[in-house]
């Protein structure tokens, strides 16, 4: 099927609290599929503006988007709320539109025509569902990650650290504080801080470090950094795939699970939780130790790359395309 025949509608949740991970993942899939990113968004008016800045076209947030002349070949849902996701699965099925659903660690798990959980520890319910895609071979990362993985050896800079804690505004204070303590502990360190997807004007000034606006993904920043400090979202998987040694610091319980699982695989250092002041204080010495441990960094990079090859987005795209191809004519039409 040529890309232009393939019409995909994304339904994603995003916002200052949820972050933009779900939306970014949809954009990655749209790019891998070669289709325009058309999203029906669950989020506020401000989030909708952010989505437009990220390159999305906004579809109706009711079911109108599933009907009309623009009836999609596939609906892709990335929403951690099972309740909201399920409502859309039911509507799509009634209209004969096949559905793929994206999950992490089983959050918002609903049954659909194609379940995708690219996390290191996929949801138990997905372990025995035939045809579902599970495990880090299906981690849905930025399609450019593969390129940065190849380029990293030529462009990595010593003493360059990336702080990427997510897209929400709640991370600003934390990032500023962390960068100050890192800079104090290691003068000469270049700290870059991912600013997420807010307006550049709304960013607080920094005493130490520089804000990075990375609307097009963090691939290059990760590839250039000798070490990264991350929360346990998509960026942690991207660091693994690119081969950037990283310390994970969890902002949510779900992120703590991911960080622990990646750390168990030897692909990430567990930095604990951001809500624990002791863990936060420990972070600067932990980072110093890692920066001086060349062998440890190599091991982390190798384990990360072995676990996540960065091609999951393309594997998922192929299956979504197949789903569209084989359900022409509305397999689920009531």
């Amino acid at each position: 099927m040529a890309a232009h025949e393939l019409r995909v509608l994304f339904r994603a949740a995003a916002g200052p609290r949820l972050g933009f991970g779900h939306l970014i993942r949809c954009r990655s899939l749209a790019r891998a599929l070669g289709v325009p990113p058309l999203v029906s968004l669950r989020g506020t008016a401000r989030t909708r503006q952010a989505a437009v800045r990220l390159g999305f076209s906004l579809a109706d947030d009711g079911t109108q988007a599933l009907r009309d002349g623009g009836r999609p070949c596939v609906l892709v849902i990335d929403d951690p709320s099972a309740e909201h996701a399920d409502a859309w699965v039911i509507r799509a099925r009634r209209l004969g539109v096949p559905v793929a659903t994206v999950h992490d660690l089983g959050l918002g798990y609903v049954t659909s025509d194609l379940g995708i959980d690219g996390s290191v520890r996929p949801h138990r319910a997905m372990r025995d569902r035939l045809g579902d895609l599970r495990g880090p071979a299906y981690a849905m990362l930025d399609p450019d990650v593969v390129r940065w993985r190849e380029r990293r050896p030529a462009i990595v800079e010593p003493r360059r650290v990336l702080l990427a804690l997510g897209g929400g505004s709640y991370v600003f204070a934390l990032a500023a504080r962390l960068s100050a303590s890192l800079a104090a502990a290691h003068p000469g360190l270049r700290v870059r801080i991912a600013a997420g997807f807010t307006d550049a004007q709304r960013l607080p000034p920094l005493r130490h470090g520089e804000w990075v606006m990375a609307r097009h993904g963090l691939g290059e920043e990760l590839a250039r950094a000798s070490v990264a400090v991350l929360a346990g979202g998509v960026t942690a998987y991207e660091a693994c795939a690119i081969g950037t040694p990283a310390i994970g610091i969890a902002l949510t319980p779900a992120q703590a699970l991911t960080i622990r699982a990646l750390a168990d695989a030897g692909a990430l250092r567990d930095g604990g939780s951001a809500s624990n002041p002791r863990h936060l204080t420990r972070l600067a010495p932990q980072l110093a130790h890692l920066l001086h441990d060349a062998r440890g960094m190599r091991r982390l990079a190798a384990a990360g790359q072995a676990l996540v090859d960065g091609r999951g987005i393309f594997r998922v795209a192929d299956r979504v395309r197949e789903l569209a191809r084989h359900s022409k004519g509305g397999r689920h039409a009531a």
């Binding site: 891998a32 599929l33 070669g34 399609p143 987005i313 393309f314 795209a317 197949e322 789903l323």
Partner: protein
């Protein structure tokens, strides 16, 4: 998900996924369409995969074979020994350089060129030997290397089927003087059309590279580079065998996904082996210890004891929506070879028997489980019906 009823299972559907499409689009958008940075990168990555110093990307395996023979200095008055059980290109290129193709018979279990038979066929005129890793099964590379040294003959491996292969632990591509790979549409690694020549020798690689581009002393990428010069010399009239960047872009993705797709074909292979174990068909022999079969073609012998002729079974399977193929009709039986060199039926009887009875079943990483089920069901149904 089951295929629609009556749907055909293709013989070897290529696996071109979203990643290949994205890479091809990026190459098209890059503004550089002929051989350029992506070809260089593909050559480097392929050389690393194989474990050799030199890889020369070309537009077919046929071109790689032709260039290998030229670089090896094979020409008029020379003989080249190969297997009759191969694609015509293997022998055609020998004729292209003005040499004479000679054949030796294959081994009756591996269906690969038999080193002992080659040894017996070698004469003072033998300049090169072209073993073919038939269907993806590595030949005994050690035996051929020894033959080459003993008789001062160049070993040119036709690895069109064997990009993932290993022979006695060694990666195919580094086991001979020259190794030629095919990236044709049905191959394990495909760029639509394409090929690669690998060698340990810088001098041979240089010759092959120059002869692949008109015999010019500088390629286009170097001539048009900012720091380059447009001047070049022509030292011999070469050919136009270079690979375009768009193909290399696809090849780079295919290379990165090669082992993943090999595992899928290997799983299909195991399913066929199990499902056909009680049928009166000769299945491919087990793989020798230390070897890795590239799982390119799953070929069975349909011998008279099965109650079927190969062609009748192929027709019955086609009726059931299962497409098959034949690898190969023995080359010496083709009109040109029979008439030009006086080859006759009976000269290489093992190859002729395989040529008469071999049938290749669908095998591709692009097959869904339901496709494999359909092939197994159809083969079992037909073969048992006539028993």
């Amino acid at each position: 998900m089951s295929p629609p009823p009556g749907a055909a299972v293709d013989f070897a559907p290529p696996v071109i996924g979203a990643e290949e499409i994205a890479a091809a689009v990026a190459a098209l958008e890059s503004g550089w369409l002929s051989s350029g940075p992506r070809v260089k990168e593909f050559e480097r990555a392929f050389a690393t995969y194989v474990g050799v110093d030199h890889a020369v990307a070309v537009n077919s395996c046929t071109a790689a074979l032709h260039l290998s023979l030229l670089a090896a200095g094979v020409g008029p008055g020379d003989d080249v020994i190969t297997t009759p059980l191969t694609f015509c290109a293997t022998a055609n290129t020998v004729v292209h350089v003005g040499a004479t193709p000679r054949f030796a018979d294959i081994d009756s279990t591996t269906w690969n060129l038999d080193p002992a038979a080659v040894d017996a066929a070698i004469t003072g005129r033998t300049r090169a030997i072209i073993p073919v890793h038939y269907a993806g099964r590595p030949v005994d590379t050690t035996a051929f290397a020894a033959l080459g040294l003993r008789h001062d003959a160049r070993i040119i491996e036709d690895a069109a089927h064997c990009v993932e292969g290993r022979s006695a632990g060694a990666k195919i591509g580094g086991t001979a003087d020259f190794t030629c790979f095919s990236f044709y549409a049905t191959k394990n690694l495909t760029t639509g059309e394409g090929g690669m020549l690998t060698t340990h020798s810088a001098a041979w690689a240089d010759t092959a590279r120059r002869m692949s581009l008109h015999g010019m002393s500088r390629d286009g990428w170097t001539r048009y580079a900012r720091t380059g010069t447009a001047l070049y010399d022509v030292v011999t009239p070469g050919f136009k065998y270079n690979m375009p960047d768009v193909m290399a872009a696809i090849g780079l993705v295919q290379l990165a996904r090669l082992d993943e797709r090999w595992r899928r074909r290997d799983a299909i292979w195991q399913r066929y082996d199990e499902a056909f174990s009680d049928l009166p068909l000769t299945r491919p022999a087990p793989v020798a210890a230390g070897d890795r079969h590239a799982r390119h073609l799953y070929t069975v012998l349909v011998e008279p004891e099965s109650g079927w002729s190969r062609d009748a079974l192929a027709a019955a399977l086609r009726e059931s929506g299962i497409m098959t193929s034949v690898h190969f009709r023995a080359v010496h039986l083709f009109t040109y070879y029979a008439e030009t060199f006086g080859f006759r039926r009976g000269m290489w009887p093992v190859a002729e028997r395989v040529s008469d009875c071999t049938l290749s079943l669908p095998l591709s990483a692009g097959m869904r489980e339901a496709d494999v089920d359909a092939v197994i069901a159809a083969v079992r149904r037909h073969v048992r019906r006539l028993r």
